[in-house]
């Protein structure tokens, strides 16, 4: 049995803005097991980063967790004090970002910054700290660590800086490493180095990794399980094979049709129609309804409930509920009253946008 390390339950995160409340994350739930590599994918603005930052409670000043629970080893950390949270950050969970230059301080040496991270999160002192800093650089594959520790961030390439960030994040062996677009700014060959390093460290140290990216290739390469987000909600979640080979949300299906892959090289890509969602003006029903080819009347009116497709797969799309209703296989967990248009025998079929 795998052990659940982190459990996010019906999380809502919002931002105060001049134009009103931006509901960036709208009721997401998922688990992270010990040692699992979880990918969060979705279009720009879908709430991937905000979800990750909510776990760490490092939201911008105008952001706040509105409701929901985040259980770490059974304890709801949304109730924790800032002091407890700062222990949590680093000891239990660390984060690395897309652009390591913005997270490294240009006026201090790499050594200063790693040693600071070690002192902050462990009770190591003096020479122990220096030794640990060297050890960490070696761990992330940096040659000649003694020399590197004395250098400044600008003296390092992008890939090297990302290694330094990973070393700092690992200073006290957290249970979870969150990586927000860790390789988006890097070249393909350097990206491969960093991804390989992360998987290697995950095996060595047994930590869980949450990787946030818009790149389905990186997700396929890295992840055991995947969460697909759209408009601040989870469309579907499941094992990598389920999401790629048995997608059960129209957004995921559209996304997979729209990207070049090995098997559609000679074919025309099929774009997703319409333009990205406006978070200030969320539709009443499914967040994807305005761009969905299969959109039914119910999709415009009600948010689809997440239901289980199989042991490895959950999805929130009215199409599934419709199909299961028709097949007489609606799962027990479907609690809501079945909307009029999905009741059999009449009212089936497409409602469309009209």
């Amino acid at each position: 049995m795998s052990e659940v390390l982190l459990s996010v339950k019906d999380l809502h995160t919002s931002f105060h803005t001049d134009s009103g409340e931006v509901q960036a994350v709208n009721g997401i739930s998922f688990n992270v097991d010990r040692g699992e590599v979880l990918g969060i994918v979705g279009e720009s603005g879908s709430g991937k980063s905000v979800s990750a930052y909510s776990i760490m409670q490092i939201l911008a000043n105008n952001g706040y967790i509105k409701s929901g629970e985040i259980l770490f080893k059974g304890e709801d950390i949304t109730k924790w004090s800032e002091k407890q949270m700062s222990e949590f950050r680093g000891k239990c969970c660390s984060i690395i970002f897309q652009d390591p230059m913005t997270s490294l301080n240009p006026v201090f040496t790499i050594g200063n910054q790693i040693e600071e991270a070690i002192r902050l999160h462990t009770d190591k002192k003096g020479d122990e700290v220096k030794a640990r800093a060297k050890e960490l650089l070696e761990l992330v594959g940096i040659n000649d660590p003694s020399k590197r520790l004395k250098q400044y961030p600008f003296e390092h390439s992008g890939g090297m800086r990302q290694r330094v960030m990973i070393a700092m994040a690992l200073a006290c062996e957290p249970d979870i490493l969150i990586a927000d677009e860790p390789t988006t700014a890097l070249d393909v060959t350097i990206q491969a180095q960093i991804l390989e390093l992360m998987l290697d460290l995950q095996k060595k140290l047994g930590m869980a990794i949450i990787i946030v990216t818009h790149d389905l290739g990186v997700i396929a390469d890295m992840c055991d399980t995947i969460i697909v987000m759209y408009g601040g909600r989870i469309c579907e979640r499941g094992t990598a094979d389920e999401i790629f080979y048995n997608p059960k949300h129209e957004y995921t299906k559209g996304l997979l049709r729209s990207i070049p892959s090995i098997n559609n090289m000679k074919k025309k890509l099929i774009p997703i129609a319409g333009s990205p969602i406006n978070m200030l003006n969320m539709p009443n029903g499914c967040a994807f309804s305005a761009r969905c080819d299969e959109c039914m009347k119910i999709c415009l009116e009600e948010i689809p409930q997440e239901i289980r497709i199989n042991q490895d797969h959950l999805a929130a799309c009215w199409m599934n509920i419709k199909e299961m209703t028709e097949a007489g296989k609606l799962p027990e967990e479907f609690k809501g009253e079945l909307p009029q248009c999905l009741r059999l025998p009449e009212g089936m079929g497409k409602g469309g946008n009209d």
């Binding site: 890939g159 290739g217 396929a220 990207i259 892959s261 890509l269 774009p271 997703i272």
Partner: protein
């Protein structure tokens, strides 16, 4: 349109920049003796590590930079400082960033109309307007949008505006420098399709620069691979991807993230050691030798020439 008519022929092109490291004057060889050709109506994809000289190749072909050495011929005629004004009607460029490359205070109509004005490509106001609307239709923009400002559009729409402007002069060749990189994945497909459709319809040739290798493979007939200012491999797109010859291309292709978990699990990534050397301190001989697992003594002594290994598959390597 005749097949296989070379439209753009680049020979021994060099573009050196004079730079300084604060103490010394140095020469940065951004593009160093590069030769290739692009057929009419075809797409050549150009890939390689950041800073390897892709943008510089594109800009030098269009003479936005004066070449340090070498020649560019367009349709058989050498491009020179003298004739570039009139050549620009046939060669255009589309940039990466749809946000910064358009003036937000201009309407769509002004933006697309500008090259028409510059090259006096219409008879009267009515004709001008009709041409603009036709161009907007070509790239899938709504005629009602003509009077709106660029900043009112989404990234994908702005990229379409930029392309409509490039098309205004009826070019035969467009340098597309990372034209979809700034767009969300769901929008990329629309723009890629548009490039492909325009080529089918109008027969334009593209030099297509991008870092997403699957995008490049999808759109390109041939792919050229650069490393530190040198061209290291050129061949048919599938050939380069599936049977790369050059050791750099080999590891590059093995590392491309593929959105398919089964393929991802089965394949073997060749992870390169270290980083690309600084272009100011080029290694002797082959530029890739510092990271190459096949490197031999000869590689440090002499730059391998780009030669045809059969079936128009070119590689520049002593050992592969």
């Amino acid at each position: 349109m005749e097949k296989n008519r070379p439209l753009v022929e680049v020979e021994h092109l060099k573009e050196y920049f004079k730079v300084t490291d604060g103490f010394h004057k140095l020469t940065l060889k951004a593009v160093d003796d590069v030769s290739f050709s692009i057929n009419a109506g075809e797409t050549l994809g150009l890939v390689g590590e950041s800073g390897c000289g892709k943008t510089t190749v594109g800009r030098t072909i269009l003479r936005l930079y004066t070449p340090t050495a070498g020649t560019v011929r367009f349709d058989g005629e050498e491009v020179t400082a003298k004739n570039i004004g009139h050549m620009r009607k046939k060669m255009q460029m589309v940039f990466q960033d749809p946000y910064s490359s358009l003036d937000p205070r201009m309407t769509v109509e002004d933006i697309i109309g500008e090259p028409l004005d510059v090259h006096k490509l219409y008879d009267n106001r009515k004709d001008r307007r009709e041409r603009i609307l036709h161009l907007m239709e070509l790239v899938g923009l709504n005629a009602e949008h003509a009077r709106r400002y660029a900043h009112e559009f989404s990234g994908g729409q702005r990229q379409r505006i930029g392309i409509a402007r490039a098309l205004a002069v009826n070019p035969e060749f467009i340098v597309c420098d990372e034209p979809v990189s700034a767009l969300d994945v769901s929008i990329q497909a629309q723009v890629i399709n548009m490039f492909e459709e325009l080529q089918d319809k109008l027969g334009v040739a593209y030099l297509f620069i991008a870092h997403d290798l699957l995008v490049v493979r999808h759109i390109s007939k041939k792919i050229a691979v650069m490393y530190l200012g040198k061209m290291v491999e050129v061949a048919d797109a599938d050939e380069v991807s599936d049977h790369p010859l050059h050791p750099y291309t080999e590891s590059l292709m093995s590392a491309v993230p593929i959105p398919d978990p089964k393929i991802a699990r089965e394949r073997h990534r060749i992870i390169l050691e270290g980083d690309v050397p600084s272009p100011l301190h080029m290694p002797s001989g082959c530029p890739f030798r510092t990271r190459c697992r096949y490197a031999t003594e000869k590689c440090a002594q002499e730059m391998p020439p780009l030669t045809d290994r059969g079936g128009e598959h070119f590689s520049a390597c002593w050992n592969k």
